[in-house]
Symmetry: C2
Subunit: 230 residues, 2 copies
DNA sequence: CAGTGGTCTAGACCACTCG
DNA sequence: GAGTGGTCTAGACCACTGG
């Protein structure tokens, strides 16, 4: 598969992160980039659109593509991101403990066999997050303690070859449940940040429901958002 | 300005919301849409890309564009959205009270004259949100109590002709400050959801800093997110 | 196989910015 | 006016889906 514009995106984004293109300056013009990368202008524009969506640049008509200051974004948590990917950015001060792993008959969109997985996430020795997942057994036939401890997403994407595509998420604040109190290190006044999400595969089938329950004092959600045109 | 693909996006999105195109079915093919709208395929594809980004459809190679079920999304709060726009969706059970409005010398990116605006948002008679805004006086020379009560964004976009473009946001949980306790209707155990955001104009200049402090029991954040390709 | 979406091209015209 | 990005086109080739 050809992915010229993805390659161009990758190179430009790396150069911005490396400081080759400085924040506040403009990128070379689309015309110039087209010559440099031996591509048509529309192809360059697809790469620039991605840069814009990911917060690397701001396009201004008549001026050019201004490089933005990415350093403000500590870790991009928007999009669908996993604890495993997050823990890599935090260094290896994290640990996952599987406390429940069972196949049941249940409902996830349609009725069928599903996996129930409960995991406690440790950060710096404290129990911070309780993840309760339901996976469709149709899409994920096998699950082990080892896979659950490592990264289920990694297994799904790299071993099973499935492609995770999009998610609906909801974030609300709740009082700690009895389960939260048992499995998380909570102080007296702690509340729980609950992220409920439905995750879909490339063919738009629902394959996962997650309830990610975070100790509120350790919770942080960072987002880069563009204004929706009316 | 020509905006053919925006018009096509608008019509298709309206038809999906109206149920003319049912969830689970596919849209007409790109080729067919190109004929229908008298447009080239690339133009159709731009419209479909927008639909995809906004959660209306899922594209599957070789199959088509599958219409998704939008009804799950109660109100899209992702992107940069204002209380005023939100209140329109809640009906007119909302009220804004301006408790502070002053011009000062301060810092917003660079040093200069800035506006400080503090507003309490009432929903169904309860004081739920405390918004603390800082605006650059260079971009927003005039601000009145009336404008602040109605919608500053509306004033900025429609009266001043400025275009709000993107924002960095951060969401964290905090204990109520003294100010929170004075201006919000809080129960004993309430914590505060704090949304800090930096908002930028089209030319990438920082023009606003906002701290939006929500009573946690009334807080809900809903998002549609696509998985970021590595 | 036909039909679908994914990518790329070369060129055109327009709107905007800045000197 | 020269240079920039915004939009649109007509056609091409590829990869994937399904019967």
């Amino acid at each position: 598969m050809k992915r010229k514009f993805q390659d161009i995106y990758k190179q430009l984004s790396e150069r911005i992160e490396a400081g080759t293109y400085q924040a506040g300056t403009t990128l070379p013009s689309e015309h110039q980039l087209a010559i440099t990368y031996n591509a048509s202008r529309e192809t360059i524009r697809k790469a620039l659109k991605m840069l814009s969506e990911h917060g690397y640049i701001q396009k201004v008509q008549g001026k050019g593509s201004i490089v933005l200051d990415m350093s403000r974004i500590n870790f991009p948590f928007s999009g669908v991101t996993t604890f495993q990917e997050l823990s890599q950015k935090l260094g290896s001060r994290t640990k996952t403990e599987v406390i429940h792993l069972k196949q049941e008959f249940g409902q996830l969109g349609e009725e069928g066999i599903v996996w129930h997985v409960h995991r406690v996430r440790h950060i710096d020795g404290e129990r911070i997050i309780l993840d309760k997942d339901i996976f469709s057994a149709q899409d994920v036939p096998h699950l082990t303690k080892e896979i659950s401890e490592k990264s289920i997403y990694d297994y799904i994407e790299n071993e099973l070859g499935l492609t995770i595509s999009f998610a609906h998420k909801e974030i609300v604040i709740e009082e700690p449940s009895e389960e939260d109190q048992n499995y998380l290190d909570l102080a007296e006044n702690h509340v729980i940040v609950v992220i409920r999400s439905y995750t879909y595969l490339e063919d738009a089938t629902l394959f996962q429901y997650t309830e990610s329950r975070h100790r509120s004092d350790k919770f942080r959600f960072v987002d880069f958002a563009r204004r929706v045109k009316k």
